[in-house]
């Protein structure tokens, strides 16, 4: 049977891969920022699951502290990226509407 930390590590890996794929493929800037957030969640999940070992009772607090720091840093990076995205849209002529594909603007 699969151990718990292996399960969550692999989940973190899949989240990372999903985020990286969306980061490369999607064109909408907000979607890219969302994707990078998913990537960071995957990395955090991998780190915390290495700290979790079902066998011995103790939990390694060092990865927890690192992840805690990482979460706050990723929030600030996200905020900066969002402001940059807004500036890109202000200064360029790219119209980023709610969808990332072409559709007729008559209905919008």
């Amino acid at each position: 049977m699969m151990s718990t930390n292996l399960l969550y590590s692999l989940t973190g890996l899949v989240l990372f891969a999903l985020g990286l794929y969306a980061l490369i493929v999607c064109s909408h800037l907000l979607r890219k920022i969302l994707a990078s957030n998913i990537m960071s969640s995957g990395v955090f999940l991998m780190l915390v699951s290495t700290a979790y070992r079902a066998g011995n009772g103790k939990i390694d607090p060092v990865p927890h502290a690192m992840v805690l720091t990482g979460i706050v840093v990723s929030v600030s990076a996200t905020a900066l990226a969002l402001v940059l995205a807004c500036r890109v849209q202000e200064t360029s002529n790219v119209t980023l509407v709610r969808e990332e594909y072409q559709h007729d603007t008559s209905g919008a």
Partner: protein, 247 residues
């Protein structure tokens, strides 16, 4: 509009480059997955090391001890990163968001008025609890920031109204207190961030409180997304010049 006709917007043809990216990523993921699977499952971590030195750290919670004492460098730099993020946001744009979102329902207003003091209380409790249980500066700061955001999206635009100097002092409080404690430790006990044993508990709580306040303010300032107009009460409005000489 969007959800009614999803089939209309399906991607018509598949880009070969996207397929290439997909297979490259799938290969990398498979290799990483194999690495994870062959990693030793019962590797000793640093938990015993932390437990052995916990009584010297000044706090009873291992995570807080690691954050503020054993790996204090990380946290110090992380608080600086938060500060830099605000500087970056402020240098990019002015605040277009002034807080008032239009119609605020009376229920929301009453709710926020009830909830905000309670959230401040929870934040203070989390900071205090951080020295012996789960909690600490980040969690307290996050709750403070959440309360700030909640007040901003109701009709209480407190942050754009704060004068420039107190706001900046509040934002810099955490990094400044942390750095000055670290430098004081350098003079007092001869090591950067090596707290003297008797004063460690007090110093850690001091750092935590200052950082929580700064983190809360920082998160709210990031939500406002730009330099607030509050400083126009003190400074002259400028057109394209560099009017921030007091920083």
């Amino acid at each position: 509009m969007l959800t009614t006709a999803p089939a209309k917007y399906r991607r018509k043809r598949i880009d070969p480059l996207v397929v290439l990216v997909f297979f490259l990523l799938a290969g990398v993921t498979a290799m990483l997955g194999r690495t994870i699977c062959i990693m030793p499952q019962q590797m000793p971590g640093l938990e015993n090391e932390v437990a052995r030195h916990l009584h010297n750290s000044g706090v009873a919670s291992p995570v807080t001890a690691v954050l503020l004492n054993f790996r204090g460098y990380d946290t110090l730099l992380e608080v600086m990163v938060l500060f830099l993020a605000v500087l970056g946001v402020w240098s990019l744009t002015r605040a277009t968001f002034v807080g008032y979102m239009g119609d605020v329902s009376p229920v929301q207003l009453a709710m926020v008025r009830l909830l905000a003091p309670f959230m401040f209380l929870v934040a203070a409790y989390l900071v205090w609890q951080g020295s012996h249980l789960a909690g600490g500066a980040f969690q307290g700061g996050a709750v403070l920031g959440g309360a700030g955001v909640l007040m901003l999206i109701t009709d209480l635009p407190w942050l754009p109204m704060v004068p420039a100097r107190p706001l900046r002092c509040g934002l810099a409080l955490g990094p400044v207190v942390f750095l000055s404690v670290a430098l004081g430790c350098l003079i007092w006990s001869g090591g950067f961030l090596v707290y003297p044993l008797q004063a460690a508990a007090f110093l850690l709580v001091l750092i935590e409180a200052a950082c929580a306040l700064s983190i809360g303010l920082t998160l709210a300032a990031l939500f406002v997304g730009g330099r607030p107009y509050g400083e126009l009460m003190e400074e002259q409005p400028y057109e394209g010049g560099s009017g921030q000489g007091d920083e």
